[in-house]
């Protein structure tokens, strides 16, 4: 959803061409390595927004014109953008892919949970190292915004690493507890007491 609103935000500044929007988004997100959005996705999004009336073509709806389409925001689009600003952003940290992996590994003899943690940790550290280096290469006088974004990444990765440490130190306890069982809705009548 954020790509959509970011495009609306860019269009709210001034009408733009599609390629302008692509470059604008990449710059905003802190570089391609940060958030790699394909131009195709941008154009798909734009056409969807055009259809729903959030965006309009400023140089006329000229399908076969050689002229490149220039997008601009509509009043509805502006309304939508303002709604987005009003809402707070909540990510969903409790939806974790590694968690699923780990839980499943506990039940499978073929996979060692400790090793899993170690691999994940190495990966996290490699990422952390990469971002740290990236952050180090940025100039605080010019690129503070990007640095702050890097810091977010560092902090999240750090949190993940700490979480892994915590899991590792309490892994045995978890293994000794019954694994999460699916809650099966009872069928038929409850057994009589």
């Amino acid at each position: 959803m954020s790509v959509r609103h970011a495009l609306l935000g860019l269009l709210a500044q001034q009408p733009r061409y599609g390629y302008e929007l692509c470059a604008g988004f990449t710059a905003l997100a802190g570089g391609r390595e940060n958030w790699d959005v394909k131009p195709a996705q941008i154009y798909t999004t734009l056409s969807r927004m055009t259809d729903s009336g959030l965006v309009t073509l400023a140089n006329g709806k000229n399908d076969n014109s050689l002229e490149k389409p220039l997008y601009s925001i509509t009043l509805v689009g502006m309304e939508e953008l303002m709604n987005w600003f009003r809402d707070s952003v909540l990510e969903e940290p409790h939806q974790d892919a590694f968690y699923l992996k780990l839980m499943l590994s506990l039940e499978l003899d073929e996979v060692d949970a400790v090793r899993l943690i170690q691999i994940q940790r190495t990966a996290l550290f490699q990422e952390l190292h990469r971002i740290t280096e990236l952050r180090q290469s940025l100039d605080p006088q010019q690129q503070l915004a990007q640095i702050l974004l890097m810091d977010k990444a560092v902090m999240h990765l750090e949190a993940d690493v700490r979480w892994l440490d915590m899991i590792e130190s309490r892994l045995e306890e978890v293994q000794h507890q019954p694994p999460p069982k699916p809650y099966l809705r009872p069928r038929g009548r409850p057994p009589s007491q």
Binding site: Q118, R121, T122, F125, L128, R130, T132, E158, D165
Partner: protein
């Protein structure tokens, strides 16, 4: 080139019921110009490993080889000289001499080595300047912030051109911003000066500055992760690991 080689290194404190095995047959090789972080829960033996490599303590069994020389059998005098010329130490509590100013504290290893005081002062000032402390040279430790004190300590560790710098929780006593500063100074010591740095830390964020992380638990190395190198390389290693499962 191999800078540090640790073979079957063990350290046992006490005996009988109070016996504590701090290190248990550790094997480790560190290349020149590597920035290595040692991590692990407290009491895992990470400081002990650092101290043994630094020649501050004697191993119970096993050997530590620095630049091809076995330091575990060296006499105290030789070892002291080695520490003075080849190694730089950075401690958690900076351990600066409270009655000396920043330049004097920095120049200490040189003066100990018999370098002329004038020469030593010049070199000390150079290092302070590199660590952005040029205007703090005449300040006593208690007139400096924690981060500044640690930078003096790093200058002191570097002033005698050591090949190895050993840092024991160098950021443990600092806020995260000063911690980052210190870590990036250490990073530069490796990247710009080609020294080998071995650092004990429990802070993942600080460890991420290193090229390699060694994870210790209960006196043993449980994992050894290489962080640097291009991504393809790393991915390959990761794949190898997965296959090892």
């Amino acid at each position: 080139m191999t800078m540090i080689e640790v073979k079957d290194l063990s350290k046992v404190y006490g005996s009988g019921e109070t016996k504590v095995i701090a290190l248990d047959s550790v094997n480790l090789t560190i290349e020149q110009g590597q920035f290595v972080a040692v991590m692990g829960p407290s009491g895992c033996g990470k400081s002990t490993l650092l101290h043994l490599i630094g020649g501050l303590d004697r191993p119970t069994t096993g050997t530590v080889t620095v630049e091809g020389k076995d330091i575990s059998k060296m006499s105290d005098t030789t070892l002291t000289e080695l520490r003075r010329r080849k190694m730089g130490f950075i401690f958690q509590f900076y351990n600066l001499i409270p009655v000396l100013d920043a330049v004097e504290n920095t120049a200490l290893p040189l003066i100990l080595d018999g370098v002329k005081p004038e020469t030593a002062r010049i070199k000390a000032k150079e290092w302070l300047t590199r660590n952005k402390l040029e205007d703090r040279g005449s300040h006593r430790p208690d007139e400096l912030s924690g981060g500044q004190q640690q930078r003096v300590a790093i200058s002191r560790a570097m002033v005698a051109d050591p090949v190895i710098v050993l840092a024991d929780e160098p950021t443990g006593n600092l806020d995260s911003r000063s911690g980052d500063e210190i870590a990036s100074v250490l990073r530069k010591i490796v990247s710009d000066w080609g020294r080998t740095v071995l650092m004990v830390t429990h802070d993942p964020r600080i460890a991420a500055y290193a090229d390699r992380i060694i994870f210790l638990k209960d006196g043993r190395i449980v994992d050894d992760a290489l962080l640097s190198g291009d991504n393809g390389d790393n991915a390959k290693r990761l794949k190898e690991k997965v296959e090892a499962l």
